[in-house]
Symmetry: C2
Subunit: 195 residues, 2 copies
């Protein structure tokens, strides 16, 4: 069975998952698929104009502290960016365009690291350009590809699919029809594949 990794580029806990998942999954020979989607439309449909961590400052403050501790636990650099949530639309479109490319996981990690280790604005073409370049791919080509209509439609459809699957936050994992929510459930999802 395939483990689907549903993630949103603006999501803090997605940073942890995207950064640590690939070696864990490969070590266990678990087949996986990246599923970039947008949380914004899902939050809006649920009556929230932005991230629940912004709407609820108490949970927000807790989340930032938890992120510091969890990043440390996983050996990942972390610094709270000055913008939150960032606009992850363009990054998600590039990822959507590149899903069948062998470097797409590295691209996702590069974008998350720019955001949560260096505080760079991932809605900027420059930041995405560097991330694509660091993967050895052609930034001009992929940024142009990301602007094409079929890619926009693809991402929109995947976001609707997320909603139909009952996904309400990121990261989420799907194994068959089984849904897991949160970076701290990655191991549960992996165990589910291996049952």
């Amino acid at each position: 069975m395939t483990l689907e990794i549903w993630f949103e580029f603006a999501s803090t806990y997605s940073y942890l998952t995207v950064s640590r998942a690939e070696p864990l999954l490969r070590r266990k020979n678990i087949d996986f698929q990246w599923k970039p989607f947008l949380l914004g439309p899902i939050f809006r449909d649920r009556g929230m104009a932005t991230s629940p961590f912004v709407l609820d400052p108490i949970r927000g403050a807790y989340m930032w502290r938890d992120m510091e501790r969890r990043s440390k636990r996983y050996g990942l650099p972390f610094a709270k960016p000055s913008i939150f949530p960032m606009n992850g639309l363009k990054a998600a479109r590039v990822m959507t365009a590149a899903l069948t490319e062998p470097w797409c996981g590295a691209f996702a990690r590069a974008v998350f690291t720019a955001q949560f280790a260096r505080g760079e604005d991932i809605s900027s073409d420059d930041v995405l350009w560097t991330a694509i370049e660091d993967c050895g791919a052609d930034p001009a080509l992929w940024l142009a590809r990301a602007r094409e209509d079929d890619i926009k439609t693809d991402l929109r459809a995947r976001t609707e699919q997320a909603q139909n699957h009952g996904i309400f936050g990121a990261p989420s994992f799907r194994v068959g029809t089984e849904l897991f929510w949160g970076d701290d459930r990655l191991e549960d999802a992996m165990d589910w594949v291996e049952r």
Copy 2:
């Protein structure tokens, strides 16, 4: 350093923590304190009339499935009770009265098991009676003690303390001034003690 276990008798994830914490903490020689409190007043202060799992059916449905899986992982019996959330006030008062008794952990586990393994209503004196009796203590004495004013005041004060500590859900763990939220952070809290 002491690890404080802040829990609410009506909380699903508190069942997992209360059921599994004591042997883990004893094995590591970690000093701990039970901190029963009430989530109701905290939720109300945060604009929620009841549990967020009731207010948000999508997250509620996810939580019940997650509880089934997590209980299984920990080898704990679990059946979704017909009432949720139950009224844990009386149980929290008995626990408050019995905090210095050696059987108070066993009492908490007995109440949670009655609720989440057998679906019994923990607001009923009968259920609490049996839980106290099973601990080898005198039910009539402790149920009477739980109704005394100093116990009511104690529990109210501990709930206010929880709020002052920034606690917004249960279970939560405190180590020094460090706050951890959720059964899935028990191991992080234990590691924090041992740093």
